[in-house]
């Protein structure tokens, strides 16, 4: 009847499942990273060598790339904070008009793929054909361009548009979490509103501002999109584009690995610093909760503030949609896409004739669907194991599940390339390698959302099921999963959205048959097929928007903001 002995904490099926998930996680990360390290010390014939590092360290162009990366990241970090802080403050604490709209648009910039924003800005401010420069020449009659986006400054500008939302989320969350009583206490002690802002509020959010700087710096450092689309034509290489260039024929895997590892170490250190700055709250959640803090009357100053905020969000999100649509739908660029100037031809071409675009969209959707689903299952189980301490050393599970966060996409791709182009698992050339890349890279999103949700479920509910006769797996499936459905779903949507726009890993791992949408965009860009590029880009934006909208409807609250 009743077994007299058994293991505490679970039956065999449950224990086996937990272990399986953990082992899978360990393999997902350790296998490619192990190969990355190995390849950086490998001489091409299987022997040990330091030559890769020596070559990496002795060539001027790698040092140049490192310096460029540093310039780019530092500028973007500083500027992000300078843009994000007033934006966040104006939304959280002032009577600026259109606060809700600005906030939604700022979050929209977060989900707008950066490579599309970069493309849009080339269409606007490219040195020769850029619309603004043409306008400038025709108005002034001067020769040179007004802006040249294909420059270091241009790259910094566009990267800033992609990275400032990360700083914005952290800072606005901190501003919303400040108790109004702290400010009231300063007021009652005799400080004016402005002085309170300066001596109380700002110091309180200083860690968040610093953390926002570090995060924007980090994002800029590992970014591939803008540096590739704007930096490469401008002959300004950064570390990520340099690693990518090493993969052009003939691929130099060893040197690429030797360049990747230091980048990995830097991102690890930076993310550690960022976590420290934010304290135990390692991640930031944008809850829609109304702030009880009082509102500062900006007087007439609320209008300039509004214009500033509006310009920022238009430049980072709104413009991308308008420009890509206009370009794709116009016969003549620069005139409104209406009447005789309107054409549907480019969209038709992309959707029905252009092989790479069709394949790319299909593959991207398959991958996003697969990666999101598996990431939620794996992330959910891992979060359960870690939150409920189901295995010895469960704390390490959480750490490991979040580890892909620190791995730059391109670095991970170098490792994946080495790991899966050889037995026992040859995945290169199939969608599987991209699936593994997306799954691992975005697992932290699924893990985090699940863990947050599981934290809010009392273990009593699960124990009640156990003592009622349910085994570990049944309890998980019948009690825990239904209760954390929302968290799992929001993780699913996030992984889906991020998978759809993934470029930095895909660019090294795709083959002709496994091209994905983002890579198809990049290919069209390289061949200069601007109308089709715009059409495909706009379709991608549209899919993205629809998915986000469905997410909002299903989940009923803001979930886009959740990201460390």
């Amino acid at each position: 009847m009743t077994p007299l002995t058994g293991r505490a904490g679970g039956d065999f099926a449950a224990q086996a499942s937990w272990w399986l998930a953990v082992v899978l996680l360990a393999l997902l990360i350790a296998w490619p990273i192990g190969w990355l390290v190995l390849m950086s010390f490998e001489d091409g014939q299987g022997g040990f060598t330091l030559a890769n590092y020596i070559r990496a360290a002795s060539a001027q162009r790698y040092w140049d790339a490192a310096v460029n990366s540093l310039i780019l990241s530092t500028s973007v970090g500083v500027l992000s904070v300078l843009v994000a802080t007033p934006l966040a403050w104006a939304i959280a604490r002032t009577n600026m008009p259109g606060r809700r709209f600005i906030q939604v648009m700022a979050l929209a910039s977060l989900i707008t793929p950066g490579f599309l924003t970069a493309v849009a800005w080339i269409l606007l401010a490219g040195p020769n054909a850029g619309l603004l420069n043409q306008l400038f020449r025709s108005v002034t009659g001067l020769e040179g361009p007004l802006f040249n986006i294909l420059s270091m400054q241009g790259m910094i500008f566009v990267t800033l548009l992609e990275c400032f939302p990360f700083a914005f989320i952290i800072i606005s969350s901190a501003l919303q979490n400040i108790s109004a009583e702290l400010e009231d206490a300063a007021n009652i002690s005799g400080a004016s509103t402005a002085r309170t802002m300066w001596v109380i509020t700002l110091p309180l959010v200083r860690p968040a501002i610093l953390a926002g700087f570090v995060l924007a710096f980090l994002e800029a450092l590992v970014l591939f999109s803008s540096p590739a689309i704007i930096g490469v034509p401008a002959r300004t290489y950064v570390l990520t584009t340099q690693i990518w260039a090493l993969f052009q024929f003939p691929p130099q895997l060893g040197v690429a690995s030797a360049l990747s590892l230091p980048l990995l170490l830097v991102t690890m250190a930076l993310l550690f610093v960022q976590r420290r700055l934010l304290g135990r709250r390692g991640y930031v959640t944008v809850t829609g909760k109304a702030s009880a803090a009082r509102v500062i009357d900006l007087g007439w100053g609320r209008w300039p503030m509004f214009v500033f905020c509006l310009l920022v969000v238009i430049a980072s999100a709104g413009l991308t949609y308008v420009v890509l649509f206009s370009y794709a739908a116009s016969k003549v660029w620069g005139q409104l896409p209406i009447g005789a100037n309107f054409t549907f031809e480019n969209f038709r071409l992309v959707l029905f004739d252009l092989d790479s675009a069709q394949k790319g969209l299909k593959n991207s959707l398959i991958l996003a669907l697969g990666a999101a689903t598996v990431a939620v299952v794996l992330g959910g189980i891992l979060a359960y194991v870690s939150e409920r301490r189901l295995l010895r050393g469960a704390w390490a599970v959480g750490f490991l599940a979040m580890a892909p966060m620190v791995i730059p996409g391109i670095v991970f791709a170098v490792g994946l390339f080495s790991a899966y182009t050889r037995p026992p698992l040859i995945l290169y050339g199939t969608l599987w390698i991209l699936f593994v890349a997306y799954l691992t890279k975005f697992l932290p999103l699924a893990y985090m959302n699940s863990a947050t949700a599981i934290k809010s479920v009392s273990p009593d509910l699960e124990e009640a099921a156990r003592i009622s006769g349910a085994g570990g797996l049944t309890t998980f499936g019948r009690i825990t999963v239904p209760l954390v459905k929302q968290g799992l779903l929001s993780g699913w949507f996030l992984v889906f959205i991020y998978s759809l726009r993934e470029l930095s890993s895909s660019i090294l791992l795709f083959t002709n048959n496994t091209v994905v949408a983002s890579v198809a965009v990049y290919d069209l860009y390289e061949t200069g097929a601007w109308p089709q590029l715009s059409a495909l880009g706009f379709i991608l934006l549209l899919i993205n928007t629809v998915v986000v909208a469905v997410g909002y409807v299903v989940l009923g609250k803001s979930f886009v903001g959740e990201r460390p």
Partner: protein, 354 residues
């Protein structure tokens, strides 16, 4: 039905030992209360019995089955126990019916059997009309009843209750105390009830186990615990707030040079330190001018504080040797701060403890 036997049950964590060598025989059909302050180890003990925490040492038997011992630990789902949680732990995503039916479905009963049993249980806890509701639509008391029905529907051998009433308001708590006792009498399930509320333990339990710092201090009937506390801890925990240092001489307790007749003075140990334990409301207070006629066991003192509590007056009285005595007197008995008074400690109320 089954007895539950704990033998040298011990739980150790790095840097903490929440339960130490707990041995206890719980008879078949008995309702036993584990009583003690928070952190005394009562909940850890209960969770070891349930199978949620593996013990470091010791054995747990249910009837003649070892459910936890040297050879391993039976997982909770195979212990044929039920548990009522402090938080009710009623599953919010299931209706009342599904909550109660869960354990029965786990045991793979036929749908008609499940329905029949659930209906009967809901009838017993007066929730029949609410079967289709979700927990969020129920009051706290109703949720507690769902938890009770869910626990009993499974026909467990052992029922575990972890502070089941502490989330309820005072009126409901009183009602539910009797409800739990009623259901126990009806089903006769061996029950272990964890609480920090002595009144709750007294009302519901056949026997009370007082725990402190991971150890059992005393096991006994409610009367035993109340009238014959075995240790200073038990005495103070169940309301004998006055623990007066004393020494023993020729069968009397000496306090402030006054010999007092006490219960338990025949105990021979006079070497260790002794205390005289007495409840505040058992002490009689007299003003200086109205010295009691019965002059055994009277002590002089000075009022240092008084407060009016409605149904009683609470006094702190300093004895001449500096010890402070708390007295709960009738409201009509007035004495102001600084006034000299007489205290009479009836011999039957004075317990001598080591």
């Amino acid at each position: 039905m089954a007895s539950v036997t704990l033998t040298d049950l011990t739980k150790e964590f790095p840097g903490a030992k929440p339960v130490t060598d707990v041995s206890l025989d719980i008879r078949d059909g008995e309702l036993i209360a584990l009583l003690g302050p928070s952190g005394c180890g009562k909940t850890t003990t209960l969770r070891m019995i349930a199978g949620f925490i593996p013990p470091t040492r010791g054995e747990i038997r249910v009837g003649d089955r070892v459910v936890s011992g040297k050879d391993g630990v039976v997982p909770p789902e195979h212990r044929r126990m039920s548990m009522i949680f402090q938080s009710y732990a009623v599953w919010p995503h299931m209706t009342v019916f599904d909550n109660v039916a869960f354990g029965l479905k786990m045991r793979k009963l036929s749908a008609s059997d499940v329905k029949q049993r659930v209906d009967r249980m809901l009838d017993i806890v007066h929730l029949k009309t609410l079967a289709a509701r979700y927990p969020a639509e129920l009051s706290g008391g109703q949720q507690q009843r769902v938890a009770l029905a869910r626990a009993l529907a499974n026909e467990p051998e052992t029922l575990l209750l972890d502070e089941p009433l502490s989330n309820l308001d005072a009126n409901l708590r009183e009602e539910m105390r009797f409800e739990i006792r009623r259901l126990h009498d009806e089903f006769g399930i061996t029950s272990i009830y964890v609480t920090h509320d002595q009144a709750e333990a007294m009302v519901t339990a056949d026997r009370v186990v007082v725990m402190n710092a991971g150890r059992i201090e005393q096991v006994g009937s409610p009367e035993d615990i109340y009238d014959r506390p075995a240790t200073r801890f038990v005495a103070s925990f169940i309301g004998m707030n006055n623990l007066l240092d004393c020494r023993l001489a020729s069968g009397k307790a000496i306090i402030a040079d006054t010999p007092l007749a006490v219960e338990g003075a025949t105990q021979t140990n006079t070497n260790g330190s002794l205390v005289l334990a007495i409840r505040p409301h058992e002490i009689e207070l007299y003003s200086q001018t109205a010295r009691p006629s019965d002059t055994t066991n009277i002590l002089p003192g000075t009022v240092t504080r008084q407060s009016f509590l409605g149904d009683a007056r609470d006094y702190l009285v300093d004895l001449i040797n500096g010890q402070t005595v708390r007295v709960s007197a009738r409201p009509a008995m007035r004495a102001s701060v600084g006034e000299s008074v007489w205290l009479r400690l009836p011999p039957a109320s004075c317990k001598l403890l080591e």
